[in-house]
Amino acid sequence: MNNLHFLLIDDDEIFQFIMKNTIAEVSPNITIKFFSDGEKGIDFLRQNLGEANDLPDIILLDVNMPFMDGWEFLNEYKSLQSQIKKEMDIYLLTSSNNPSDIAKAKEISALSGYLVKPISKQGIKNLISHFPTNQWYHNEF
């Protein structure tokens, strides 16, 4: 349980730094990989389709990013989903609790939940405790 792989797709370097620190504090066994936009993220997945070990268990996906935002990523992901040989939970990350964003997120089946920044240590712990989830999850905001 503790040796989960995280993938954070977010262009905010500071947030990447904060998440790295937070996750390290939760458990040193949890690994985390960063991509600064959706395009880079989807490229990574595409390159590692068959290699379950390199694929993450949890993807944290920011909405606002240059070149390819979160929604576009999810679109691309959909076409890859059938080829991915691993159970993955994808959580949408956003700095706002915009109701229209939440409604839009719930429509997407590939998503497991919705997280509003900031994400605390406890937030990561809760997330892990729910993994793998087949129910809609969102943190408290």
């Binding site: 947030f15 904060i18 620190n21 240059p66 070149f67 956003t94 700095s95 920044k117 900031p118």
Partner: protein, 602 residues
């Protein structure tokens, strides 16, 4: 008002007046025609009466002409045997006042008189009539000729008998069997009864004239027989009415108007009328007379008008009534016309007011529509602003709080120190964002205060290109301009400069290095609106992918090219704040076209 009233009155009354006049004229004509016809009938009856009364005398004269007198019958001493025969005859004929035989020398040889009491008396004082007209005119009468004298007054011994006795003498010659003339028979036909009959039953005055116009019957009895009575004022009808003679003499039966009086005339020519009797018709006898009478009816104008008086009064009353009714109607109509006119005027005023109100309303509507557009735009801008604050501001602030809490939990100074550059970066990002937001908010707030001026396009574009002169020269980027459609616009100079700088900057930044870059700036008209086109042949942008985001804040679509994603966001905000809008068309690898449409710009 009074003039209109009068006009209306005349309009309605004139036809009635004309009809009335025509009716009166028609009535007059009809009345006169009737009157003339009736009077002619009456005159014709009178004429017939005269003829009928004279006929027996003709027959009697003929009888005595045929009677076989002998020479001795003309001897007063030897003709007493005639008494019985002639006496019986005269008794039966009560209109005969005398029966006489006169010999060839003019002496009466036999005479029977009818006295006032009707008794027949044989006169013994026989007179000499040799000098009388009737004797003289009959001396040359031939056999079977019968003579009728004019109607005159009886004379005895050369003196008019009083009271006047109007009479006609019938004369016929007597011949013996050998054809020798013995003398004449004279029968005095008393015309008193005839004249009485003629004077009877006349509604209008009846006049009888002889052939010379002497009065035989007149309503004024002094005029009757004035030509026979000595010392009387003898004046004929034609002398009394000089104008009438010609028109009355023109025909046997006729009528004539003179000074409003109506005259109806018919003639009685004895020879003509009596020749219809069988005696003359079959030439048993021959008539000789000079008598030609004129029968006249005279209807005076007052009498004539009186007859029509009631009808005319009726017509006058009808006219009076019509005048009153028409006056009332005209008054009402004129008044209703006036009020109608007033009403129409009021209506027109109302209409004009409504029209102006409607234009006012329309203007207000237009103003409202403009305001609504502005509000919608402002709403969208506020939503943008909201999103920017929510996403772009919240992210770094949460980062700050996370970093701060991390700082608090830092185990040593070295660890804490490693967080400072991160904090610095975040605060810098926040500052930049706040600065950008300020620019944005200023545009939103300033839109009404921004100075509008007439801007010549060419120098503005030149100035904008000058900023990039180094790049343009070094990279040999060709800039083509065409301002033939329009070259001047009223807009905010600062905004337009900013817009053009951003678009040119974008065109330079996203040029395609594999080909000679060209930037095309031109003006044109579209749907009566000014349009500015900025076109490049650069790398283009995938609008299917980014179309909805291209004008949004901090959106970047090209990896490896610097840009913070503020330019197009500003361009759109500035244009929209002044009622212009921007559209984009792009094909990857071919280029991008920005089209700015200025709504309602001079």
């Amino acid at each position: 008002m009074l003039k209109r009233l009068l006009l209306k009155f005349v309009k309605y009354y004139l036809p009635i007046l004309i009809l009335s006049v025509l009716a009166v004229l028609w009535l007059y004509q009809k009345e006169h025609k009737n009157l003339i016809a009736i009077q002619q009938d009456e005159l014709s009856n009178k004429k017939q009466l005269i003829v009928e009364l004279l006929k027996p005398m003709i027959a009697n004269l003929y009888y005595w002409e045929q009677y076989s007198f002998s020479e001795s019958d003309f001897d007063p001493e030897n003709n007493a045997h005639l008494d019985k025969k002639i006496g019986d005859f005269v008794i039966g004929m009560d209109s005969y006042s005398q029966f006489r035989l006169i010999d060839l020398s003019g002496n009466e040889v036999y005479r029977l008189n009818r006295q006032e009491n009707g008794k027949i008396v044989k006169s013994t004082s026989l007179q000499d009539k040799g000098e009388r007209d009737y004797y003289k005119s009959t001396t040359d009468l031939k056999k079977s000729q019968i003579y009728l004298s004019p109607l005159n007054l009886n004379q005895e011994n050369g003196i008019l008998e009083l009271p006047y006795k109007p009479m006609i003498r019938g004369v016929t010659p007597i011949f013996d069997k050998q054809g020798t003339k013995l003398g004449i028979v004279v029968i005095n036909f008393s015309a008193e009864k005839l004249l009485d009959l003629l004077k009877k039953d006349n509604h209008y005055s009846f006049i009888l004239l002889d052939r010379s116009g002497n009065y035989l019957v007149s309503k004024d009895s002094v005029k009757e027989f004035a030509h026979l009575i000595p010392n009387s004022q003898n004046i004929t009808f034609y002398e009394e009415h000089p104008g009438l003679g010609d028109s009355l003499r023109s025909k046997e039966s006729t009528s004539s108007f003179k000074s409003g009086d109506l005259w109806i005339k018919t003639e009685l020519d004895f020879i003509n009328e009596l020749s219809q009797t069988p005696l003359f018709q079959h030439r048993f006898a021959d008539i000789k007379t000079n008598n030609k009478w004129v029968l006249l009816k005279h209807i005076e104008s007052q009498v004539l008008n009186a007859r029509l008086k009631s009808e005319i009064v009726t017509i006058l009353l009808i006219n009076l009534l019509a005048i009153m009714v028409i006056l009332c109607l005209s008054y009402l109509e004129a008044r209703s016309d006036a009020s109608k006119k007033k009403y129409m005027q009021a209506l027109e005023v109302m209409n004009r007011k409504l029209e102006s109100k409607s234009t006012e309303l329309e203007n207000k509507n237009n103003a409202l529509a403009i305001i609504q557009n502005k509000l919608e735009l402002r709403n969208a801008q506020l939503l943008d602003y909201n999103n920017i604050v929510a996403h772009n501001l919240r992210a770094p602030t949460t980062s700050v709080s996370a970093l701060v809490s991390m700082l608090g939990e830092a185990e040593d100074y070295e660890q804490a120190k490693s967080y400072f550059p991160k904090l610095q970066k975040v605060t810098h990002a926040i500052n930049t964002l706040v600065d950008d937001l300020l620019v944005y908010v200023r545009i939103l707030n300033d839109d009404d205060l921004v100075g509008m001026e007439n801007i010549a396009m060419e120098p503005l574009i030149e100035a904008s290109l000058d900023l990039y002169v180094e790049t343009l020269d070094k990279e040999t980027i060709e800039v083509r301009t065409d301002f033939s459609a329009w070259n001047e616009i009223k807009f905010s100079r600062i905004y337009l400069q900013s817009v053009i700088q951003n678009l040119v900057s974008n065109a330079i930044k996203y040029r395609d290095v594999s080909k000679k870059p060209v930037i095309n700036i031109r003006t044109l008209w579209e749907n009566d609106k000014k349009v500015l086109i900025v076109e490049d042949n650069g790398i283009g942008v995938d609008l299917d992918r980014y179309g909805s985001d291209i004008f949004k804040l901090y959106k970047r679509f090209h990896r490896g090219l610097s840009g913070k994603g503020m330019g197009l966001f500003l361009v759109k905000t500035q244009l929209e704040s002044l009622n212009a809008n921007i559209e984009v068309a792009s094909v990857l690898g071919q280029g991008t076209t920005f089209k700015i449409t200025f709504d309602n710009y001079e």
